[in-house]
């Protein structure tokens, strides 16, 4: 039972352009959503979060959009930089319990 899905396993984007990562969920009970970034041989690091009562949250180059009616969230990275190359995980959260998607590998080409 995959409650959180990232249907694109990989994404390639040119440096300076926008990266858009998508995530779908089925559990309407999530109170908040997060995006984590993971480099090889390291643990995931927190990137940005959004409460389920909001539809947008922005932090520098990173913006997360939430569409509750569609049960869909997306992460926009503008502009993309080579250091953004990593695996990105979205997660739904309730009572400090996180349910992760399968991840999207992003490659930013110089």
């Amino acid at each position: 039972d995959q409650q959180v899905k990232q249907n694109s396993p990989s994404l390639s984007v040119q440096e300076g352009r926008i990266s858009i990562l998508n995530c779908d969920y089925t559990n309407s009970m999530f109170d908040y959503f997060l995006w984590y970034k993971k480099y090889p041989a390291e643990g995931p690091t927190f990137l940005i979060s959004i409460s389920s009562i909001k539809d947008k949250n922005e932090d520098g180059r990173f913006t997360v959009f939430l569409n509750k009616s569609a049960k869909h969230l997306s992460l926009h990275i503008v502009p993309s930089q080579p250091g953004d190359s990593a695996v990105y995980f979205c997660a739904g959260g309730k009572s400090n319990k996180l349910t992760f998607g399968g991840g999207t590998r992003v490659l930013v080409k110089p």
């Binding site: 041989a41 995931p44 979060s49 959260g93 400090n96 996180l98 991840g103």
Partner: protein, 117 residues
């Protein structure tokens, strides 16, 4: 501020053997989590501690997995006996706890990569 420490970083064992992983959370963090990440998948929560008490272990295969957090600081996760499908990265995370859930960021350690042959 020191991050979440885990050891060992890598472990190779044969099936039916036992293995233990150690985690030292960020100082002052009351909540500690163990996740299993199978290759190509996202992390899956195995067990969550609040201080030295278990909050959620609903996804822990209790016939072979056990975890403890004595004194509410360090934690160990044990697998006995290991199966081939236990090959994964085991991630430990910690958070301050006692805060509104959406602001209680989980900080992850580098993980232990387990290979079961």
């Amino acid at each position: 501020e020191a991050g979440v420490a885990q050891s060992p970083r890598y472990k190779i064992i044969e099936k039916r053997q036992s293995v233990a992983f150690w985690c030292n959370p960020i100082s002052g963090h009351a909540t500690l989590y163990w996740y299993q990440q199978i290759l190509g998948q996202g992390p899956k929560l195995l067990i969550q501690f609040q201080n030295n008490g278990v909050v959620d272990d609903s996804q822990l295969p209790k016939d072979r997995f056990s975890a403890e957090r004595l004194k509410g600081v360090d934690s160990t996760l044990k697998i006995q006996p290991a199966k081939l499908e236990d090959s994964a990265v085991y991630l430990c995370a910690s958070s301050l706890g006692g805060r509104a859930a959406s602001t209680d960021t989980q900080y992850f350690g580098p993980g232990t990569r387990l290979t079961v042959l």
